[in-house]
């Protein structure tokens, strides 16, 4: 019954989204206050309905309801509880439902806390959100139904892919989608503003909160995605990086002084923002191209693209500082000077870490037996032992490695990589042990046994110079966004702006 209730809530949400797409827009065009207020009410209702739908599917995964196709394909009773829940958005339909839910929550926030927006402006924005949500829900219902059922009863599911059984891999998509949905709402506000220019005075100031939270979520998602891909910029996992960089450019544009935006008019400001950020957007494109190229064997091409991206970004930063009159003018920004500085610092640290880990990385693959040692990248790697054990839903062999620096033998780190066997999926997963060694990261992956000598293991040793800076920069940027959130209310009349 619970999945069917979730399915019904999804169908009802689709109808409400259609109403939200049409009625508030008509209200804004004809000046009917009640019709415009209906937009806010329906956005709140949509948030509630999609919450019912999302949690119904989550509950089906948590309680292993194998009558649901998605649960059967991506869950198993032996899977750890946390991964049973993250499995609910591990497939296409689940991911789309999560995206719709997060987008509806952003709409809920805009309707609930957007009282200071002019009513016509907010109605047009919510109408655009309703239209996007209606199309998305229609697609979900007819092409990727998250509540598709199985006719025949089954005892157990096929289990979650081992590659997704880690906290970064589980939560990175959710955070990326949360950020993406936030920027989709910004797009709705931009659409509303481009139609009629009556929100100029509050447009940028109010949207900063949405942009900051969206950017923080997306940054956290990119950082976790980087952890999942071991900072090797797997384009399948980090394609969102392009949107993230574009989001950063939008955020930068939104931090122009309010007075300047109001004086020029919003349309002129938007045009100017696009021109102003052309270098940032070009940098974003170059980075995306670099990411795509990094999946090819031509590492030099990837490195070249990355350096181009770094310099273009520095150019964009320089241009911004030049236009705003240098660091002195940063103090005149409405709030978050410290956050702003920290954001750029985080970006620089992040780019340094990503560049070092990708371009200057060195790797070595070799066969070793316990008690043997090898010298690699100025370090002596001692393979001490292998122990076997049983995890929640897998068997594992855990290798024990001690890594000594040749120039400082007292400084050493331990690494415990695992070779796991998941019996339900009949798949192996080699969990890399990445250990910070100063600002570098030293990683050990323990692979398959030698067919003739079972004590011998295939190992991959890798050194990622500056690798520890990548996640540090990412989390610095998240912190910066939180610091930049306006903590005090802007002065002005409480409540909705009268029509």
């Amino acid at each position: 019954m619970i999945p069917e209730l979730g399915h019904f809530a999804l169908a009802l949400a689709c109808v409400i989204a259609a109403v939200q797409a049409v009625v508030p827009l008509l209200g804004a065009m004809t000046g009917r206050t009640g019709w415009m207020r209906l937009g806010r009410r329906s956005a709140v209702t949509l948030g509630g309905l999609l919450s019912i739908s999302f949690f119904a599917r989550l509950l089906a995964f948590a309680l292993s309801d194998f009558t649901l196709q998605g649960v059967f394909r991506h869950s198993h009773t032996m899977d750890p509880s946390l991964y049973k829940m993250t499995a609910s958005w591990s497939d296409g339909p689940g991911l789309l439902l999560l995206a719709a839910w997060l987008f509806a929550l952003w709409g809920f926030a805009a309707a609930r806390f957007g009282g200071r927006f002019p009513a016509r402006f907010l109605s047009r924005a919510l109408s655009a959100q309703g239209a996007i949500l209606f199309a998305l829900l229609l697609f979900i219902l007819f092409a990727a139904n998250p509540f598709a059922r199985l006719d025949a009863p089954v005892v157990d599911g096929l289990g979650l892919s081992p590659a997704l059984q880690s906290i970064p891999a589980g939560f990175a998509p959710a955070l990326l989608l949360a950020g993406g949905a936030g920027f989709a709402l910004l797009f709705c506000f931009a659409l509303a503003e481009l139609g009629k220019h009556d929100g100029a005075a509050v447009f940028a100031a109010r949207l900063r909160v949405f942009a900051l939270i969206g950017f923080a979520a997306m940054t956290a998602g990119v950082t976790l995605g980087g952890e999942t891909a071991e900072w090797s910029w797997d384009p399948r996992r980090n394609a969102m990086l392009f949107f993230w960089l574009a989001g950063g450019a939008i955020l930068q544009a939104l931090y122009l002084p309010d007075a300047k935006i109001a004086a020029r008019g919003t349309a002129a400001w938007l045009k100017d923002a696009l021109k102003r950020n052309r270098l940032s957007l070009a940098g974003a494109a170059a980075c995306a191209a670099g990411i795509l190229f990094s999946s090819l064997p031509h590492k030099e091409t990837a490195a070249a693209f990355f350096f181009v991206a770094v310099f273009v970004f520095l150019g964009a930063l320089h241009r911004l500082l030049e236009k705003t009159g240098g660091l002195r003018r940063w103090r005149n920004l409405p709030q978050g000077f410290t956050g702003g500085v920290l954001l750029w610092l985080g970006l620089a640290v992040f780019l340094a870490g990503a560049t070092g880990a990708t371009c200057w990385r060195s790797e070595k693959t070799l066969w070793m037996r316990p008690s043997q040692h090898a010298v690699f990248a100025g370090r002596d790697v001692l393979f001490t032992d292998v122990t076997a054990g049983i995890g929640v839903n897998h068997d594992y062999d855990r290798g024990m490695f001690a890594v000594f620096r040749l120039d400082a033998p007292d400084a050493h780190v331990f690494a415990l990589p695992e070779a796991r066997w998941y019996p339900v999926r009949q798949e192996r997963r080699y969990v890399t042990a990445a250990r910070r060694d100063g600002i570098d990261v030293f990683a050990v992956t323990m692979g398959a046994r030698d067919m003739r000598d079972h004590a011998k293991r295939r190992l991959r040793l890798s050194l990622r110079p500056l690798g520890a800076l990548g996640p540090l920069g990412g989390w610095l940027m998240v912190l910066a966004c939180l610091l930049m959130l306006p903590l005090r209310r802007a002065s002005g009349k409480n409540g909705e702006v009268a029509e």
Binding site: M1, H7, A11, L38, V155
Partner: protein, 239 residues
């Protein structure tokens, strides 16, 4: 029913929530009252939102399928069934490739019998017995025993004419076959000749070693037949 009640409640709450701003006179502080267009839109939305939502759901949803939370039910019986369900498809493919595959036929028949599909199991066993007879297979009598017992199961425990023909065929080939003798006696008992059945079963007990597995069943059958007879006799005495 509970699902429909919850869906109806959700519809009602949602419809009331979204039409409320159209009819809420108290919230309009700037002079504008509730107009006819507002009322008409409220009425249309109140009627159409539930109708569209229910239509959409009923065209896609499966309200007849209940949930089965694996964490809360005993899976042992289902697991046995699961093995058979998983084995069915490869056997079906084997039989498509070679309908005379005796091994696949017997496995398919046994699988269907375990899944409770006795009528289908009988069809597979009949086919297997025909092929085994044509091959003069040394295990033919055993296959015929399985066929006869499945025929009895398909008739809900009654030894019907078809099953009796099978057991007669076994007795022609092997007159001392205990399974066929047992069911032949059971046929008599089920058709009113309980004394004859008891005599046949008693004769069976005198043959073979005393610890043969089927003798326990025969003793139980004799006890049941005797109890039935004495009950019938008591009823007659009372009358």
């Amino acid at each position: 029913m509970t699902l429909y009640a919850l869906c109806g409640f959700l519809c009602l709450v949602t419809a009331l929530k979204i039409v409320a701003p159209l009819l809420d006179r108290g919230r309009f502080r700037h002079g504008a009252g509730v107009t006819g267009a507002d009322r008409r839109l409220a009425a249309v939305l109140f009627c159409l939102v539930p109708v569209f939502a229910l239509s959409l759901y009923l065209s896609l949803g499966r309200p007849e399928l209940p949930s089965r939370f694996a964490l809360f039910h005993d899976v042992t019986a289902l697991m046995d069934r699961q093995d058979d369900l998983l084995a069915e498809e490869p056997l079906r493919v084997l039989l498509e490739e070679n309908p005379e595959d005796l091994g696949a036929l017997l496995q398919m028949a046994g699988l269907n019998a375990r899944l409770g599909r006795d009528a289908r199991a009988v069809v597979f066993y009949e086919h297997a017995v025909r092929i085994a007879a044509a091959q003069d297979n040394i295990l033919l009598e055993q296959y015929m025993q399985s066929l006869g017992r499945t025929q009895v199961d398909a008739a809900h425990g009654t030894v019907d004419a078809a099953a009796m023909r099978t057991f007669d065929a076994i007795l022609k080939r092997r007159p001392e076959d205990p399974i066929a003798l047992y069911y032949a006696a059971l046929f008599k008992a089920q058709h009113g000749d309980e004394q004859g059945a008891i005599a046949d079963w008693t004769k069976m007990l005198s043959t073979g070693t005393p610890l043969v597995y089927w003798k326990w069943n025969v003793r139980a059958a004799i006890a049941a037949a005797r109890a039935h007879l004495s009950k019938a006799k008591n009823n007659q005495d009372k009358k």
